[in-house]
């Protein structure tokens, strides 16, 4: 923990807990019959929070479909995020983006619905930074499924060739929808592909938040100093199914035993134990963080549910800019 201070670790822990409570809140709302597209983050909180924590406010985020950590970690208010997910005017995309989350001020640059489409867009943001001689960097998240899309290869090749200030963060949770990546993917460590694109590739324990923070910090430093891109593969696991409607994730395309094994590696509990062990915080202090996060999500639900929908006129606006 040479590079990370106590305050940052606590911030990461707090946001991981907030993320988990947010995820639980969505599941609770789904059970009530509210329609939300839920790609649960449970089990993947470490990387999704640690990486944006390592970013500067001016750095750009290209998020992906899984989870909400990249939004909460980059500073999005859960009530704004939740409002967007249920199509309310108070959402970050005025209730028109839904799961396609974007926020201009937070530099969350949009989340296309087509797998990997955002990765060349992220490389384009990095090219723009280079052409404008700015000092910012880009982080592009994507899953192991998307890593087989041609767009990823095209973007990584150009980023490598032109030494663009971008960090590719692959969350390898080992399943693309209902297909294990062992059936479809040529390498076991996706980071091995980095060599082919002229950039360093590392594989980290995706359930270790501190490892994620340190890897991202170093890669962002490389990006900012003109040394070009880095590929970080964070090996992890999604505890829930692909979406809230995945009925097959327990015992069909993966075994219950496997899921139980990964539950033992829970990133939130792991960081909590570490904070107590290192005497950074007491159990009572951490319980207080948990309690506050739950209260925050109750308030977020109320805010989102009470918010108005956009008007018909607003629904049809913004197809073109002036």
């Amino acid at each position: 923990m040479a590079m990370i201070d106590k305050e940052t670790v606590l911030k990461i822990y707090t946001n991981m807990v907030r993320l988990r409570c947010f995820d639980d809140k969505i599941n609770e709302m789904l059970e009530k019959g509210i329609r939300i597209v839920q790609h649960s983050t449970r089990g993947q909180e470490a990387t999704q929070i640690a990486v944006p924590t390592a970013m500067e406010p001016g750095d750009y985020m290209m998020p992906y479909h899984r989870g909400w950590g990249w939004a909460i970690g980059k500073g999005m208010d859960p009530k704004i995020l939740l409002s967007e997910l249920i199509g309310k005017k108070t959402g970050c995309c005025k209730g028109k983006g839904g799961v396609h989350i974007a926020d201009w001020n937070l530099r969350i640059m949009g989340r296309p619905g087509v797998q990997a489409a955002h990765v060349p867009i992220g490389a384009g943001v990095a090219l723009s930074i280079k052409l404008r001689k700015a000092k910012d960097a880009v982080v592009a998240f994507f899953g192991d499924g998307a890593s087989n899309e041609g767009n990823i290869h095209e973007a990584m090749n150009m980023a490598g060739a032109w030494k663009l200030p971008i960090v590719f963060v692959n969350e390898n949770n080992q399943y693309a929808l209902f297909t294990p990546n062992i059936e479809t993917t040529s390498v076991r460590d996706l980071s091995a592909r980095a060599q082919g694109y002229g950039m360093p590739g590392i594989t980290i324990d995706g359930n270790d938040a501190i490892a994620g923070y340190e890897a991202a910090r170093e890669a962002l430093q490389r990006a900012r100093s003109g040394q070009g891109p880095t590929f970080i593969e964070a090996k992890t696991y999604r505890i829930h199914g692909h979406t809230g409607f995945d009925q097959f994730h327990l015992g069909v395309y993966r075994s219950k035993e496997e899921v139980e094994e990964w539950k033992k590696k829970d990133p939130v509990m792991r960081l909590r134990a570490r904070l107590i062990e290192m005497k950074t915080s007491t159990a009572a202090q951490l319980d207080d963080i948990d309690k506050k996060a739950k209260e925050e999500m109750e308030a977020a639900e109320k805010f989102a549910m009470d918010s108005p929908y956009p008007t018909r006129e607003e629904i049809f606006s913004d197809v073109y800019a002036e």
Partner: protein
């Protein structure tokens, strides 16, 4: 006003040079844009070494990069070497560039990118993977503007407007049009997007066309005049948004409508024009609408065969005459 004669290719290069000199955020990315098979971007790298970027063969990737650069303060001009390769880049342009602003909730999210694409057949047997006309599918996507210039003057003025536009523009060019000459004024002029132009006035029939087919239609109109038929030629210039007002006004005057394009007929640009006139101006017509378009075929990959399916001057003349 001083004018000079130049080709479409030279006019496009002038537009790029002037816009790049005027605005540091304009840059060009595409395959072989330094030397450039179409000569449009040729040698501009000597003036703008950092802003003419040779891309790898990654149409989807570098088109997507255009979107990202456009979102963050740049004005990319992306070149897709052949229309047919647009289908590799379809997601980046039709799915991403077109929808990005809306999806992100508008506001500061804008995609001021131009995608220049060379299309069209009859360059000597380029065939079905180097000779298609894909402007009809492109107009089906709200969020995009679609331009197809038919003369050097329009090419320069429209490209300048497309570069200054705050929305993504698909800017079609035609390989056979690159060498077509015309007068271009020296001053800094632009042509607004969304405005058609009457290229020839007439009272007997309206022929709506654009791009390289416009050149054929203008020749056909000369031939028709010899037989006493005065055709009014409407050059769309912008296909989306379409200048329906100019088309309707002309049809009101002539009572007859012919459309002419190089793409195939089913689901083509002419289909859209015919449907629009049926909805808004059926009462003006005294004859059924006729569409001149490519055969429902696969473009033959021989210099001999490819001419057969692509509309020629005689096809336009014959179609118009059949209405009288």
């Amino acid at each position: 006003m001083a004018k000079k004669e130049m080709t479409v290719s030279e006019a496009l290069r002038e537009a790029l040079r002037e816009e790049m000199a005027r605005d540091n955020s304009v840059f060009v990315i595409g395959e072989d844009v330094k030397i450039n098979v179409w000569a449009v971007t040729r040698d501009l790298y000597k003036e703008f070494p950092e802003r003419i970027i040779n891309a790898p063969l990654s149409e989807s990737g570098f088109s997507g990069m255009g979107v990202g650069a456009a979102l963050t303060g740049m004005r990319p001009v992306v070149e897709i070497m052949f229309n047919d390769f647009l289908l590799y880049a379809a997601d980046s342009i039709l799915n991403q560039a077109a929808k990005y602003r809306y999806m992100c909730g508008g506001g500061e999210f804008k995609v001021p990118a131009v995608f220049r694409i060379a299309g069209g057949g009859s360059t000597g047997g380029n065939g079905c993977h180097h000779g298609q006309s894909l402007e009809a599918p492109a107009i089906h996507f709200p969020g995009l503007k679609v331009v197809f210039a038919g003369t050097p003057y329009d090419a320069k003025g429209l490209l300048k407007s497309a570069i200054r536009e705050n929305n993504p523009v698909v800017f079609f060019e035609h390989k056979l049009l690159y060498g077509v000459k015309g007068e271009v004024p020296d001053d800094d002029y632009t042509i607004p997007l969304g405005k058609a132009d009457i290229k020839r006035e007439g009272k007997d029939v309206t022929i709506v066309s654009y791009g390289y087919t416009l050149q054929k239609v203008l020749k056909a109109a000369e031939d028709l005049a010899k037989d006493g038929i005065q055709a009014e030629v409407v050059d769309l210039r912008t296909l989306r948004p379409m200048d329906t007002e100019t088309i309707l006004k002309s049809v009101q005057k002539t009572s007859k409508l012919v459309t002419a394009e190089e793409g195939t007929k089913i689901g083509g640009v002419g289909a859209e024009i015919a449907a629009m006139v049926a909805e808004e101006g059926l009462q003006y017509l005294d004859a059924p609408v006729k569409r001149v378009a490519a055969a429902e075929w696969i473009i033959c990959s021989s210099a001999y065969g490819d001419q057969m399916g692509i509309p020629q001057v005689a096809d336009v003349v014959q179609t118009v005459k059949s209405m009288f």
